[in-house]
């Protein structure tokens, strides 16, 4: 196993996130069993106070998860010099079976925590906390994921054994069987680009329709998730090629390097935020039927949808600009 400060820090984050979410879900279990909004008992009062603690803990977990996501990719990137055949983070994540699942779990926990916090925000505005059971049910789903993330990440880092010159026996060429960074296969650029822009059009159209009629909500949520997936595929399939101006370099992580103006941050952060907002807006929208949320939901949903549309808009505009700016000719 490697011990680097970043790995120590990542373990620290994963432990504290799993710890806080488990603590929160312990309280959540009690709330699910004993919650009775009509009761004025001391227990109910205590439970209501606990809800503040849970939302604070979840807010912390969301921030920590974002930090850990960034740090994880950066660490994989910086470790690439340690492994024969790994040119960047893709190679390092491919070293054992736990690299990419850990990354995906981090992304999943990030989105779920964001949805939870936004649900909580809407719920707190309803006088009778109508979403309490849904919220704490969701929390019980997040908790095992954070534990799984901790386990996967530990397994991943434990499985990293770097190839270095050993001082006496010099086993130099044991690395041939090392899994070489399998660059993700590129799609044919034309259909990929077509799909990317059709998806862009769809998201914006559904988003605008959603702003008028709330029943488009679930479709918008699905659209945002799909849009996120398509965006990632597009980044790997052709967008990265345009940025690197190299028809064979598909890495989605090298975009974060200073050598490419760290353009990855300007792409990924709005994309992640937009997906989180859009997903939450779509999930929240159906609750406008609940009496106490009748007035709250439309305003909240409109705000979130605008934020999502702005994020996606920024992402698509920046992508188009990157394609136009590039000297690479992919569609000849």
């Amino acid at each position: 196993m490697l011990i680097t400060p970043a790995i120590v820090a990542l373990h620290g984050i994963a432990l504290s996130v799993a710890g806080t979410v488990l603590l929160a879900s312990g309280f959540a279990g009690r709330i699910l069993r004993r919650w009775d909004i009509n009761s004025g008992s001391e227990l109910q009062l205590r439970l209501e106070r606990r809800t503040y603690l849970i939302s604070t803990l979840l807010g912390f977990s969301l921030g920590a998860e974002l930090l850990s996501l960034l740090l994880f990719v950066q660490t994989a990137e910086s470790l690439s010099s340690q492994f024969i055949g790994a040119m960047c983070a893709t190679g390092v994540l491919n070293i054992n079976h736990f690299g990419f699942p850990t990354l995906l779990l981090k992304i999943a926990v990030f989105f779920l925590a964001a949805v939870w916090l936004l649900l909580n925000w809407v719920d707190n505005q309803g006088r009778d906390y109508p979403l309490v059971r849904l919220k704490y049910g969701l929390l019980l789903l997040i908790a095992p994921l954070t534990v799984m993330e901790l386990a996967m990440q530990t397994a991943y880092f434990l499985g990293l054994t770097p190839e270095v010159i050993t001082s006496c026996c010099g086993s130099l060429f044991s690395a041939e069987n090392q899994s070489v960074a399998a660059e993700l296969a590129g799609l044919p650029p034309k259909p990929a680009m077509l799909g990317f822009y059709i998806m862009a059009g769809l998201i914006i159209a559904v988003g605008l329709a959603f702003l008028r009629r709330l029943w488009w909500g679930p479709l918008f949520a699905i659209g945002c998730l799909l849009g996120f997936g398509v965006a990632i595929v597009a980044i790997i399939g052709f967008l990265s090629l345009y940025v690197y101006e190299n028809p064979h370099h598909h890495c989605p992580f090298c975009l974060l390097k200073a050598g490419y103006d760290s353009v990855g941050y300007a792409l990924y952060l709005p994309l992640f935020a937009a997906t989180a907002f859009g997903l939450s807006a779509g999930i929240i929208a159906p609750f406008h039927r609940i009496a106490s949320l009748h007035k709250v939901v439309p305003g909240a949903v409109r705000r979130l949808s605008w934020l999502a549309l702005l994020g996606f808009g920024w992402f698509y505009a920046l992508s188009t600009w990157l394609i136009l700016r590039s000297h690479l000719v992919l569609l000849g």
């Binding site: 011990i3 400060p5 820090a9 604070t56 950066q74 990137e77 130099l172």
Partner: protein, 378 residues
């Protein structure tokens, strides 16, 4: 959105004045917090700087070094090996190197002695590194004699001192002619210490190394990439170990932060009670307390980081240098190139700010959910 921002502005405003009211207590915490960030960032900045320096130096290292091994130990390489190496496809220039270490009992240090054919030195001429010149108090034109392997003293004339810009490489270096080297160490004729080769296409270095291992079974080819990897691993490990050691300090800090946040003074409790009585909600108090933590963290983080930056890059990095740099009598005197790295800042945030937040979350919540009447009555 603007009401949200206004609200946060007022909260920050209130928090700042509340912090000012309890100056001594908060300054104490701030001091410890800053010191913690300073310690961790010093380690990170220093090792990052050293790693970068090593990588920059190794950029000029040969593509492949070939050594000869006998019974697993490094041995002298016969000159007859150079020809088969030259014949390997893809190999550019090949030449044998003569170098070694010389223990000088006068300064109780090892010199690196190396033959530099490109300098055109006469048999008794030498060039020496700046640190060595300083320690032996030598200048150009001075004579310097070393006992040779045959037992006789070998007089050497200093004809130049190596540029101090390359001090990291040349601190303990002594360059001389092949004839001088052979009379100093008396090695068997037609042998070299090792051989270096250039590879025309650097991406083929690995294949070339495989061919060498196949053609000369007793050889040990070392790639530049492997040297870089080893340096990286060494610094990563040292850095990681210092971090693990410092975790005890971190734990102490977490306990302090928890204690500070949990032990509200009577005055603070009354303050929260009054705020709630005049209409503040639990959420507002929570937000105010979180702002308090955020402001403290930001101040401590920035101050600690800037201090560490100054200490490492301009103050000589006295603090962790012996652990991270390694140690030697003839240690080069060099200055690191300042640089800030995103990963480093993220890791620092994760090991300093995050534990502080974790430690204060529950106490903050406890404070925010206190009943106003309970506090006022108590």
């Amino acid at each position: 959105m603007s009401t949200f921002l206004e609200r946060q502005k007022y909260l920050i405003d209130y928090t700042l004045s509340a912090l000012r009211r309890r100056k001594a207590r908060n300054l104490g915490l701030l001091l410890v917090y800053t010191l913690l960030v300073f310690l961790f960032s010093s380690v990170l900045l220093l090792s990052q700087g050293l790693r970068r320096e090593a990588a920059a130096l190794l950029q000029d290292a040969p593509d492949v070094i070939v050594q000869r091994l006998i019974a697993g130990r490094h041995d002298l390489l016969p000159a007859a090996w150079l020809e088969p190496l030259r014949r390997i496809r893809g190999v550019g220039a090949v030449h044998g190197r003569l170098w070694g270490y010389y223990y000088d009992p006068v300064v109780k240090a090892n010199y690196t002695v190396m033959v530099a054919p490109e300098r055109g030195l006469a048999t008794h001429d030498i060039l020496i590194g700046a640190t060595l010149a300083r320690i032996r108090q030598l200048g150009i034109g001075d004579y310097f004699s070393l006992p040779a392997a045959t037992g006789q003293a070998l007089p050497l004339k200093v004809v130049g001192i190596l540029d101090s810009a390359s001090e990291l490489l040349s601190a303990d270096l002594l360059l001389l002619s092949e004839a001088g080297y052979r009379s100093l160490f008396n090695p068997p004729p037609n042998t070299f210490t090792d051989a270096v080769l250039t590879v025309r296409n650097p991406r083929e270095a690995r294949t070339v190394a495989e061919k060498i291992a196949l053609a000369l079974p007793g050889s040990r080819p070392i790639l530049r990439a492997e040297m870089l990897r080893t340096y990286d691993a060494v610094f990563n490990w040292r850095e990681g170990m210092v971090f693990v050691t410092l975790s005890a300090v971190l734990l102490a800090f977490v306990i302090l932060a928890w204690d500070q946040a949990a032990g509200l003074s009577a005055e603070e409790q009354r303050e929260i009670g009054i705020l709630k009585a005049i209409g503040w909600e639990t959420g507002d108090i929570l937000r105010m307390k979180l702002w308090e933590g955020a402001l403290l963290s930001l101040t401590a983080f920035l101050t600690g980081y800037v201090l560490a930056y100054w200490q490492v890059f301009y103050g000589g990095a006295r603090l962790f240098a012996p652990v991270l740099k390694g140690w030697a009598v003839l240690y080069p005197d060099f200055r690191l190139t300042p640089a800030v790295d995103v990963q480093q800042v993220l890791a620092l945030l994760a090991v300093t700010v995050l534990p502080y937040i974790v430690a204060t979350l529950i106490p903050i919540w406890r404070a925010a959910t206190t009943d106003p009447d309970a506090v006022m009555r108590g």
